[in-house]
């Protein structure tokens, strides 16, 4: 009877309890909830990219701080993500660490900015400088990137590889003056009850 009670209906099933997701980052392992893009990936990638950007001569040796416009990231993975979050993190990191070495332009706020300038030109609101002078800055560089993925699913589990690629484009010459990437691979197996 004890043998009966100790029996398990799932005997003969490989890994009945499933295998926890393994976060593989070159030589590092950790435990995460899913195989998709998660906050720790975002922080790691954004930190790496912001450090890398600051080291290039175009930024480090610039006589005047170059102006940068952020362009949306192209998500080509199978994971829907908030695409702005990477660029926001990189911008915040650069603004806090670079201390004026780069200037970001708020192109996403252009509609509101133009409206305000027009109000100043019409005299509807006060202006601290001549509103008829064009002071909106043009971009020296565009910062953008892409997320590309490779996913596999077999009876042994799910595996997702994601390549995060970011690059800085010279707005005058279209030359890519900087590019860096980070890659991650995660794998996991769900409980047999879901297979």
């Amino acid at each position: 009877m004890a043998a009966l009670l100790a029996g398990c209906a799932s005997s003969g099933v490989k890994n009945p309890s499933g295998v926890a997701v393994t976060h593989i980052n070159a030589d590092e392992q950790g435990f995460v909830a899913g195989t998709g893009v998660e906050s720790q990936d975002m922080v790691m990638v954004a930190d790496k990219m912001s450090r890398s950007i600051l080291s290039i001569p175009q930024i480090a040796n610039a006589a005047t701080p170059p102006t940068i416009v952020l362009e949306p990231v192209d998500n080509q993975t199978r994971f829907p993500i908030n695409k702005d979050i990477f660029l926001t993190r990189i911008r915040a990191q650069l603004n806090s660490k670079a201390r004026g070495k780069v200037v970001f332009l708020a192109r996403s706020e252009m509609a509101a900015l133009e409206q305000e300038r027009n109000r100043k030109r019409q005299g509807a609101v006060t202006a601290s400088s001549d509103p008829n002078v064009q002071e909106f800055k043009g971009a020296d560089y565009f910062l953008t990137g892409s997320l590309q993925g490779l996913s596999t699913r077999t009876a042994a589990g799910t595996s997702d590889y994601i390549l995060y690629d970011f690059h800085l484009i010279d707005a005058r010459t279209s030359a890519i003056v900087w590019e860096d990437s980070a890659e991650m691979k995660k794998q996991g197996l769900e409980d047999a009850a879901y297979r």
Partner: protein, 393 residues
């Protein structure tokens, strides 16, 4: 005798005590998913949360409540994306003494794919075709682990839309188009027209539901009803576009093949049957021995065997091999798609649903007023044969 019966009684009581249940979180259902789902999500068992979120999302999309659909799908997909590794409820579902339905519901692969397809439509509606494409890729991915390889990743529309989104994002969608065409059984898919900014997602017919067969209800089966709607027709401006089904959700449900869980449920059923038989033999044999015997020791042995039989019967009764038949029961049978160029301005679109004989089902006709303010962004229109009408987008 007294010394034998007291511990035996204690053992039986302890066994029965094991069957004691904690208070159930039951919700009273009205039959209206827009009422029942929020109630079940808030007050029902947490293991059913995703099921009700799926149902509410589908119903909300048909009512034009896309923000509500988004909110529920996002939460459901969060659970779906994080099921890896050890899960106490899933472990319970595998044990002899709990039903499969004890596990947190995430649905069978066709249900998971549909959740991603709906979310993809909503992302496209919000002007995020790359996130929509991510969802369509995940929809295919959920279907990639079928028992028979020929049915793996064979959704047509997600593949077709993957290519369309790529084309609209200035990429090369031709590979995805070829893959879609390869699995489109008898349907000639229209080539991509990136300038077509009016995207119509059309669904119709009743989708699959689940039931169980087998001696103990351990075999999961799918019920597919014939659809009264076989196709649709879109009329917008001067255009008249026939819409044939591209995906059959019933087909997707029934071609997945066996699950690992089916093997586990089969083992449970065998265990239940064996313990029942052992119980019968021991109970009858033990009682017969005790009754026939005039020797006190033999009588005690006989009663002991009968007690073992009783415990075995109790264990058999407590074994639950029943398959999980919780279904996303408001899914459609067919999915389809059409795209048309719509210049800025107001357009009135009429979608008629046709029976298998090609006759219009007038009570299902939907009218949608579409306001196009810019051609820089696609206007996504979602229409079901159960959609609210008229709608203004």
């Amino acid at each position: 005798m007294k010394s034998l019966w007291q511990p035996a009684l204690l053992a039986v009581l302890l066994t029965l005590a094991g069957c004691a249940t904690t208070p159930k979180r039951e919700v009273v259902l009205t039959g209206n998913v827009m009422v029942d789902a929020p109630n079940a999500i808030a007050h029902g068992p947490p293991r059913d949360r995703v099921l009700w979120e799926y149902r509410l999302a589908a119903a909300a999309m048909r009512q034009g409540q896309f923000a509500l659909a988004k909110q529920n799908l996002d939460d459901a997909l969060l659970t779906l994306g994080g099921i890896y590794g050890n899960d106490p409820n899933a472990k319970k579902a595998r044990s002899y003494f709990h039903a499969e339905a004890k596990k947190t519901f995430i649905g069978e692969p066709y249900e998971r794919s549909m959740a991603y397809i709906y979310r993809g439509i909503l992302y496209w509606m919000d002007g995020e075709p790359d996130n929509a494409r991510a969802c369509f890729r995940s929809a295919e991915f959920e279907d990639s682990d079928t028992e028979k390889h020929e049915y793996a990743g064979d959704w047509v529309l997600p593949e077709y839309l993957d290519g369309l989104a790529t084309t609209k994002l200035h990429g090369d969608g031709s590979d995805a188009f070829k893959r879609a065409q390869a699995v489109a059984r008898g349907v000639n898919l229209p080539p991509y027209h990136p300038e077509a900014n009016g995207l119509f997602f059309v669904e119709f017919g009743p989708g699959p539901t689940k039931f169980a067969t087998g001696r103990y209800g351990e075999e999961l089966r799918f019920h597919t009803a014939p659809s009264p709607v076989a196709s649709a027709e879109l009329n917008v401006d001067a255009l008249r576009i026939p819409i044939a089904p591209t995906d059959d959700v019933n087909f997707q449900a029934t071609t997945r093949g066996g699950r690992v869980m089916d093997h586990i449920l089969g083992n449970k059923a065998v265990f239940k049957s064996t313990t029942d038989t052992v119980g019968n033999v021991a109970l009858v044999g033990g009682l017969a021995t005790a009754a026939a015997s005039r020797d006190r020791t033999t009588e005690e042995v006989g009663l002991g065997i009968a007690l073992v039989g009783l415990v075995s019967k109790t264990i058999s009764a407590a074994t639950v091999p029943a398959a999980d038949t919780r279904s996303w029961d408001n899914l459609p049978c067919y999915l389809s798609f059409a795209s048309v160029p719509l210049p800025p301005g107001t357009h009135v679109a009429t979608i008629q649903f046709l029976d298998p004989a090609g006759q219009v089902l007038p009570n299902l006709t939907k009218t949608i007023t579409i306001n196009i303010t810019t051609t820089d962004r696609d206007k996504v229109v979602f229409v079901s044969d159960t959609s609210l009408t008229p709608q203004t987008l």
